[in-house]
């Protein structure tokens, strides 16, 4: 009977841990299939969620730190321009949810600006995850190349042809050495283009925000109910084994309540973990990359 008790213990712990999503390998878990536990320790591939950033190493080494809405790696913008652009971009996001970023860099080091744009956008996760509404305005100084990289969700608004026009306009400023002015004009043009069908989009965005909140609430409730049911079931098993059995009730009460404490701490831990990973990246001037993806839309040009 002692063996049965130990086994039930193991069942209790591992079931609760697995159900609550904590993946840490538990030494007390039944060692039924060691291979399966081996597998759990490794990070599992989650194709739908992970922004695909398996890029060749040299490209990845080019990605700058996501330090704000204007990442001026090449120093082409003065402090004044950055201070002018940042609130402009922040205000646009507040209004529509679109994340528009300006990136300058010294050199692409042999990469094409198209590939750099897509992979940087995915790496940072610009745009909201389910709307893919990010835009990157990229300028590579050494190659004299620029690109507007448009996320999946905005390809219909900021079409290739419109992006190409904006790039051509910027090229004229750039040709005269007016880099800051060109970037400001270009950014302004991007925002104007995205703002065109304002009302419908702003409404739908606000509506979506609300429904997302409802959805979160619903999911949380569901999680609570499922966990509650599990605890009930487990308690029943434990009670049969320990309370009605020939074993001391005191010990069994202790063990069951301590394992319950384990469960609850495990579940809150996993919840925090998942919400942390969803928030993906750091924030500066309240920029929070939403995990949007890119598919190669936009236009490139040179000067």
């Amino acid at each position: 009977m002692g063996g049965l008790q130990r086994m039930l213990h193991g069942v209790l712990l591992s079931l609760a841990l697995l159900a609550s999503g904590a993946i840490a390998a538990e030494p007390e878990a039944p060692a039924k299939k060691p291979g399966l536990y081996l597998r759990k320790a490794a990070p599992e591939p989650v194709p739908e969620q992970a922004p695909r950033d398996e890029t060749p190493a040299p490209l990845e080494s080019l990605f700058p730190e996501l330090s704000g809405r204007v990442v001026d790696g090449a120093g082409m913008l003065g402090a004044t321009s950055i201070r002018y652009l940042t609130p402009l971009l922040a205000a646009h996001e507040k209004r529509t949810g679109d994340q528009v970023l300006v990136v300058t860099l010294d050199s692409l080091r042999g990469n094409s600006i198209e590939e750099f744009g897509v992979q940087l956008g995915r790496h940072w996760g610009i745009g909201q995850r389910d709307r893919n509404n990010g835009v990157l305005l990229i300028v590579a100084r050494a190659e004299r190349k620029m690109r507007i990289e448009v996320g999946y969700g905005l390809e219909g608004l900021l079409t290739d042809a419109l992006a190409s026009q904006i790039i051509a306009g910027m090229g004229q400023d750039f040709a005269q050495g007016e880099f800051a002015q060109g970037i400001i004009n270009g950014t302004q043009a991007i925002l104007d283009t995205l703002r065109r069908p304002t009302l419908a989009r702003v409404d739908s965005y606000q509506e979506q925000l609300k429904s997302e909140r409802r959805e979160d609430f619903f999911l949380f409730g569901l999680l609570a109910v499922v966990l509650g049911l599990l605890f009930l079931l487990l308690r029943q098993v434990v009670d049969i084994e320990f309370v009605r059995g020939k074993y001391q009730p005191g010990v069994s009460r202790d063990s069951s309540s301590s394992s319950r404490r384990d469960n609850s701490s495990a579940s809150t831990g996993s919840y925090e973990g998942s919400s942390g990973s969803a928030g993906s990246s750091d924030s500066s001037d309240s920029l929070r990359a939403g995990g949007g993806s890119f598919g190669g839309g936009g236009a490139s040009g040179s000067w």
Partner: protein
């Protein structure tokens, strides 16, 4: 005796729950998940090729108006397009390497014909100043780039899927449950940089 009876009735439920959570945590779902990803990425590839095919009639019409002496190049584009669109592809094409290759060849041929057309267009200043042509040109560039991205994603997805099938423990699950899902072929790089967009330069 009562105890053991109740235990007996509860035990299977607990075991079932345990088993299902164990299994879903150890990769039994990986192969179908990756398979779906491959299919989704393949859909995206088809989608972008279709987008390119849809652009071509407009482009050809516009160029025709200005470049009257380029009948051969234009005909080559139109023929390559009709050949490429005549190959019916869907998700089942993925399990048919022969057809996949055929599809790829036809699309490559169209890429070649298109880039020749764009080179030829350079000789016509009026055409290059035409707004309609400029718009079409930027759309074509954008679409070529999207094709490159979609192909790259597809190749990565197939690679991931194949790796899962060939390595432990995916290999076990594959032989036990998913033996109907084969190792997949992916695009062959015909050129060293075949998954990069051809540069349409002016």
């Amino acid at each position: 005796m009562n105890i053991t009876q109740r235990l007996r009735s509860t035990w299977p439920v607990a075991a079932l729950l345990l088993l299902s959570s164990l299994l879903s945590g150890c990769g039994i779902n990986n192969i179908p998940t990756l398979d779906e990803q491959v299919k989704a990425d393949w859909g995206q590839v088809q989608n972008q090729y279709q987008r390119r095919a849809d652009l071509i009639p407009n482009l050809v019409e516009t160029v025709k108006g200005y470049a009257k002496h380029e009948e051969d190049t234009l005909t080559a584009v139109i023929e390559a397009r009709s050949k490429a669109t005549s190959i019916q592809v869907d998700a089942s094409t993925l399990d048919n390497p022969e057809k996949l290759k055929q599809f790829q060849q036809a699309q490559d041929q169209l890429s070649g014909a298109l880039s020749r057309l764009m080179v030829v267009s350079e000789r016509y200043p009026d055409l290059k100043a035409n707004q309609n042509f400029l718009a079409l040109q930027s759309q074509l560039e954008g679409t070529e780039n999207r094709i490159a991205v979609a192909r790259r994603d597809f190749i990565l997805a197939v690679q991931k899927y194949n790796t899962e099938i060939r390595t432990f423990p995916g290999r076990l699950w594959h032989s036990m449950m998913y033996s109907d899902l084969p190792i997949r072929e992916t695009f062959e790089a015909t050129r060293p940089d075949a998954d990069k967009a051809p540069q349409v330069k002016f």
